[in-house]
């Protein structure tokens, strides 16, 4: 878990390269076409594997049967997706606000940082899956325990990115504000906070991708609804095509969430390089 920050940085770089390559063509239609083609290729390989190795449907169902299951059970899938989506979104909101508060505290009260940092690291050293049963015990089988799990899992990348961003405000900006007579609070609000937004944004991008992990893992450990629950039930009943259908919805959900967040971040942080 502690190399999440590394992932954050790596992902940020990837993201930049990705953006650059998109900007070179800069056509949404082209991008859509590429997405469709790569999707179709994966489906084709999948179908080929099923045919060539003559895999039984309880090991790897054919794409078509998954698709049929998707249509057939769309109402059930939709109901459970809604629950998981809720957990992910509330988890993101909770984790983000916790991370922001934590980062601000570390910045504003230097001595407090020495006390808080070990807690932050311990919160990452204990695998979130190991404390999941305890969360179930305390918070029940409802969505609150999953929200908290998603929040815990994104807490570290958000906090570190936000803190890094706040701490690494260019010295020149601070000097300028100081000669203009800015107070500590004005400096934070007008300079440090906006200057930290691009770094925070890369933390948010990581958070959006990993938050569903927390939610679904929580559902596996104990729940009565959600896509993770549905997958477990389907597995027990050997409905592997339903499992795959749930998995498909889950990935689609994550991808959509990522692209929406990315669009929003770009809209509100247009100066980001």
């Amino acid at each position: 878990m502690s190399n999440l920050l590394l992932i954050a940085k790596l992902q940020n770089n990837l993201h930049k390269q990705f953006n650059k390559s998109i900007n070179q063509v800069d056509k949404p239609l082209y991008m859509l076409l590429r997405l469709t083609i790569s999707f179709l290729i994966i489906i084709a390989i999948w179908q080929a594997i099923v045919i060539i190795f003559e895999l039984p449907s309880f090991i790897l169902p054919a794409p078509l049967s998954v698709f049929e299951r998707l249509i057939e059970r769309h109402d059930v899938l939709f109901r459970h997706s809604l629950v998981t989506a809720q957990e992910v979104i509330f988890g993101l909101l909770l984790g983000l606000s916790m991370g922001l508060c934590f980062a601000l505290q570390m910045l504003l009260f230097k001595p407090l940082k020495r006390w808080l940092l070990p807690i932050l690291i311990i919160s990452q050293a204990i695998p979130v899956f190991a404390i999941a049963p305890i969360l179930m015990l305390w918070l029940g089988y409802g969505i609150s325990s999953k929200v908290v799990m998603a929040a815990i899992i994104i807490f570290f990348p958000v906090t570190t990115c936000c803190y890094d961003g706040l701490k690494n405000t260019p010295m020149g900006y601070l000097d300028l504000a100081k000669t203009m007579g800015a107070t500590k609070w004005q400096m934070l609000r007008r300079i440090q906070f906006p200057a930290s937004l691009p770094t925070l944004a890369s933390g948010i991008r990581v958070a959006v991708v990993i938050a569903p992990i927390g939610a679904v893992a929580g559902e596996w450990i104990g729940s009565s609804e959600g896509l993770g629950y549905l997958m477990l039930q389907a597995n027990a009943r050997m409905l592997i095509d339903e499992m795959f259908a749930a998995l498909f919805i889950l990935s689609a959900l994550s991808v959509c969430l990522y692209f929406i967040t990315d669009k929003l971040l770009k809209k509100f942080i247009p100066w980001e390089v």
Partner: protein, 259 residues
């Protein structure tokens, strides 16, 4: 506003020694300097000689980081730090603010941030007027990264003027620009800052000769300052045989410091 009528003050520096807290050697020692009121004072010296430290001290940016001894006084009663505007080598435009908002930046920091609507409108009009003076009327809604280096530094100039401070401290503000842009910006700054007390740090003798009413050379470790006589013509000076000769003298004197 309040500073407009008031004449720009002079700054008198006497026997100033400056030492960074984390160093044993002082960076400036027994420095004497008379910065004349409503004039351009240029300070020349090699990189790292302490000229930036002096400027940053005047801008009150080093007060917790250095040990200071000597005396520093101005001809007006107001505290020095209330009277200075600072312009750095980088334009320091906030990338998230439009050009207009960048010019208005100091208004968000003043102690009296509670302003009436009409005051705000007045300030916006003033900022627009300043942008017109620096020749960027049609650029006010753009973000800084959409501008060229020269334009950005002109926005920084407008932002400095917006502060209406009688003393302007400039730390090599033109050094990152190409020759022609620099030339034009020097003329513009010279015209717009003519009533202010300006302290300009530079390592470019040509720039110093062009703009200075008064010139100091800083040399040695720890550094001391010596005045240098300049032609009495008005600034900005065009280069002629006399200034070329002066430039040669300055370079030879500076060279002695590069051992």
């Amino acid at each position: 506003m309040m500073n407009q009528q008031q004449a720009s003050p002079s700054i008198i520096i006497r026997d100033v020694t400056l030492r960074y807290n984390d160093s044993n050697e002082p960076i400036l020692k027994s420095l004497n300097m008379d910065i004349l009121a409503s004039n351009w004072t240029c300070i020349l010296g090699r990189s790292g000689c302490g000229k930036s430290s002096l400027l940053r001290y005047l801008a009150n940016l080093l007060n917790t980081k250095v040990q200071f001894s000597g005396s520093l006084s101005t001809s007006s009663e107001i505290d020095l730090k209330e009277q200075v505007a600072y312009m750095a080598q980088q334009d320091l435009l906030m990338p998230w603010l439009t050009v207009l908002d960048n010019v208005l930046l100091s208004e968000k920091f003043s102690a009296n941030t509670k302003k009436s609507q009409s005051d705000k409108q007045q300030q916006i009009n003033k900022a627009k007027q300043l942008l017109q003076q620096v020749g960027l009327t049609d650029k006010e809604t753009l973000l800084p990264q959409q501008l060229s280096g020269g334009m950005r530094q002109r926005v920084a100039l407008a932002r400095t003027l917006m502060q209406e401070k009688p003393i302007v401290l400039m730390d090599e503000p033109f050094s990152a620009l190409d020759a022609v842009t620099r030339y034009r910006l020097q003329n513009l700054a010279c015209e717009l800052l003519k009533d202010k007390t300006v302290v300009l740090i530079t390592h470019d003798p040509q720039e110093a000769i062009r703009l200075a009413n008064q010139l100091y050379i800083m040399q040695g470790t720890p550094a001391f300052a010596e005045p240098l006589t300049l032609p009495s013509t008005t600034t900005p000076r065009n280069s002629d045989a006399k200034s070329a000769a002066l430039q040669q003298t300055i370079i030879e004197r500076l060279e002695a410091d590069y051992e």
